[in-house]
Subunit: 530 residues, 2 copies
């Protein structure tokens, strides 16, 4: 029997038809329905794919926020045999056009408010034949032809049957941003999605379960929202989808009103949530954990949620290439009695390989680093659900070695076998022959009560080759924080030669399309100071 | 990347080397060691397989109790590429000889106390070339050639590397008893074992985790001890192995002294545990659940553990063909607030399909029965880890239909989609054109305070075709319980025509090789009363 994505939706329909899905509408109101209705609508829309010219095997783009319609497509497209291609709406027009052409998408399902982007790039699109507006009606647009999603659903067949599909058939596709050049495509098979979703449901993992109420703030166009949509349907969990342009305040209101048990967000949103909660407290009593990812979580954020709300912050590590989870934090048997503070010491690290995953950290000489938390090497991963090449891309040869994904992340391993990311290989600062970790400096800076965000990058230096420069966004209530305060704050924590040579105060740290600190941009700025 | 059994042991070795395995020795003492040592010994023994003439692909029998050496072979044989064939030591000599020949085992690893069986059947064995005594030294025996396991381990290589194996390679083999004729062989691939083990670790399943301490009383020669050995190593859980001929009293002592969190036993052992606990109470405070299986658990047993110890009894349903788990009980979101008594009402049923499993109950007309808990049909199952044929056996055609396993179990489904077994198709009693469930009568009888065990079977009847007869084992303290008491006890619970025509009082209900009530023998007795 083949491992198929359709199994997830079918289980929700059979066993949890009355469980709820809540979706935030553009006007801020909440749309509610059940898995019974969701499943019926997913089958209705699937029954219309043929009329849109979509054939099994075709790639179909979504260009959309986290909404119930996007959730329906997560199951309808793969279960029909097409490939769900979730396009990152935050990329540049140039990259979006590249992605739609490179993947050969035949159709784009897009939220109405995102039509202007598609209108701009439409003349460049070579394979897209139809657009579908994820809406009641087609918005005013220069695109053609366009159909309204709800019109399609209305004419659909809720009894539409999903076929059993060879599990090696692609089910989902994402593009990951590259350091240089165009984004790279990653295809996930039905099997990969099934196996990845399984591990999310392990008790010794995130323990996803029916009684959970999920709020994925991480976009559904970013690495499958870390797999939450698939796991939620499979377990029949309540789902809360934050819709168009959600802010930290919207998320917190939803967590409180919908009694969310498990929220997942990029670290940058986690930091915003802290700021918002400091302004206005909420009842977060329903939350059992918050998963932050995309970059290393500052310890100060973990301390805040633990001490103020008793909420553990879960961390994980992975990548688009890995669907995306490769490691997560695990409190071992002999650590169960540890204090909350000690457990944070475990959770700030990136964790152990998930069951099924193989991980190695290779030093410069190509041999595994000792488990001393000192020796640094590059992390390599392979997983039963991991990709081993990029879609139709010669850069596969650089990204994968003998079936292992070469992460570009520099890390150590401690005596418990637990990974700690030191830095992205390209973000490490090489000063006078020694390495300086930008992440450790950032975490220390963000623990300062007057600092909201901080990013540290290398600037060129004649004598030392590179020296650190810190970009710092102050809290509004601490406008007076200056270089001297921060040097004094960092001095007891680091060797003198680690301290940044310069501090640049900014309103906000620039972010990439997926919400990470945009260090490439900062490095350019450091190289060419205004 | 292939799904391989070796992943389980490797994870225990990497991340949980210090976690403990406890094994009860023949003299009652406890042997203790760690996953570090277990993994090292498993590799040492694997490094000696070639010298025993075992080649990858060969089938190798174990004939053994639940011990640490058997546990090592669970990983060493499949990871080497051979097939771990666990032979049921409780079968007749004739069936054991049949099984060893039919599977073409090349070697038998046997506990010393079980050598007499092998000596008796040795002349009939056609493919076995070597015997290994799971012991320090070779016992006195007529078998030849025989090597001592510990001698092999002493000369082994702890650095022996396991290869990556095509996941469709057979890893494990079991035989299931047939209603008539010889046992039928079932092969499990590496993939099947991996997928089945995964589902045991789901939070919404048994939730197997590192912090668990397992005591599998279910034999490791019976349907992979329901998968516990594989899951325990993968999660790195503490394992308590009860060794040679364990009695209910041994199990309870081990649960108490080793702080077991999860025990698993055949229902018949569960009943013995109740009797033993009524004689002498124990501290079972460490136990989070007990899994009983093999036949339907009487509600009285569930009530006892819940009310006396606050321990929920987990139930499941499956078969050797399914590795073995197909369904298990799940308390749904809207049932979480129910009372313990109400939750037992859910747990006495066989549950919902496990994630990944498909289940259908077909009535006599071949269409699915309505979800009304009244209409009875036969349960069919397919699972990504399920077998779809018997090994080299023409009876495959009767046991499997289009990839679905035909269970021979008659069941209903309630409004929540939850399965309830009514009876084995062959155990149902057909009286005057109506069905009587032997299981329901047995459960009611075993809830009587004076009854220890009860089994109900059909006896031929001139007018009604079949009528129920009850075999009853009284509790020692209630020797006076008679027909009239039991009729009075049953009358308010059943229609008059369901009541047994006869009660036969016995010392013990006869059991099959796997510990189930042996109804075939009772039916014969009922047909030919002494």
């Amino acid at each position: 029997m083949e491992l198929n994505v359709r199994a997830f939706l079918e289980r929700a329909q059979i066993y949890f038809p009355q469980n709820e899905i809540v979706s935030r509408c553009p006007d801020g109101s909440l749309f509610r329905y059940s898995y019974r209705e969701m499943g019926s609508r997913a089958r209705k829309i699937a029954s219309r794919f043929e009329s849109l010219g979509i054939r099994p095997g075709d790639k179909v783009a979504t260009f959309a926020w986290n909404t119930h319609r996007h959730y329906e497509l997560y199951f309808a497209l793969p279960s029909y045999g097409a490939v769900l291609h979730t396009v990152n709406i935050r990329l540049s027009d140039e990259h979006i056009a590249y992605i739609l052409n490179h993947s050969e998408d035949v159709c784009v399902f897009a939220d109405s408010d995102l039509f202007p982007v598609l209108e701009r790039i439409a003349p460049q699109l070579r394979t897209v034949r139809t657009f579908v507006a994820l809406d009641e009606a087609v918005p005013r647009t220069s695109l053609a032809p366009v159909v309204a999603y709800e019109d399609l659903v209305r004419g659909g067949d809720e009894g539409f049957g999903f076929r059993e599909i060879d599990e090696h058939t692609p089910a989902v596709m994402c593009y990951t941003s590259a350091t240089t050049g165009n984004p790279k495509g990653v295809l996930y098979t039905h099997r990969a999605i099934y196996l990845h979703t399984s591990v999310l449901c392990f008790a010794d993992g995130f323990g996803f379960r029916e009684s959970d109420t999920f709020l994925p703030m991480v976009p559904m166009f970013h690495a499958n929202a870390w797999g939450i949509p698939f796991a939620a349907a499979w377990m029949g969990s309540k789902m809360v989808l934050p819709g168009e342009r959600p802010r930290a305040v919207d998320i917190l209101d939803l967590i409180e009103s919908e009694r969310v048990t498990f929220a997942a967000a990029p670290v940058s949103v986690g930091i915003e949530m802290v700021n918002e909660l400091q302004k206005k407290r909420r009842d977060l009593g329903s939350v059992r954990a918050i998963l932050l990812g995309g970059q290393a979580t500052p310890k100060a954020v973990m301390d805040f949620f633990q001490s103020e709300f008793g909420i553990p912050i879960y961390t994980a590590w992975g990548s688009t290439e890995l669907a995306p989870i490769a490691t997560f934090s695990h409190i071992k048997r002999h650590q169960l009695g540890w204090s909350a503070e000690e457990k944070i010491g475990i959770r700030v690290r990136q964790g152990m390989a998930s069951p099924g995953v193989e991980l190695k950290v290779l030093g410069e000489d190509g041999s595994p680093v000792p488990w001393d938390d000192r020796h640094v090497g590059e992390a390599y991963v392979r997983a039963p659900w991991g990709s081993t090449s990029y879609y139709n891309d010669p850069r596969s040869a650089e990204g994968f070695v003998d079936g292992w994904w070469k992460s570009g992340d520099m890390a150590t391993i401690d005596q418990e076998g637990v990974l700690r990311l030191v830095d992205r290989a390209k973000d490490l600062i090489k000063s006078g022959g020694e390495w300086i970790s930008s992440i450790e400096l950032e975490n220390a800076l963000m623990a300062h009560p007057g600092v909201r965000e901080a990013a540290v990058v290398a600037m060129p230096h004649e004598k030392w080759l590179e020296r650190p420069v810190a970009y710092v966004a102050r809290r509004p209530e601490a406008p007076g924080v200056g270089d001297a305060d921060l040097i004094e704050w960092l001095s007891p924590r680091f060797a003198k030669w680690w301290l940044p040579d310069r501090f640049v105060f900014v309103d906000e740290i620039p972010k990439t399309g997926v919400g990470k600190f945009d260090k490439r941009r900062l490095r350019e700025r450091a190289r060419n100071p205004e």
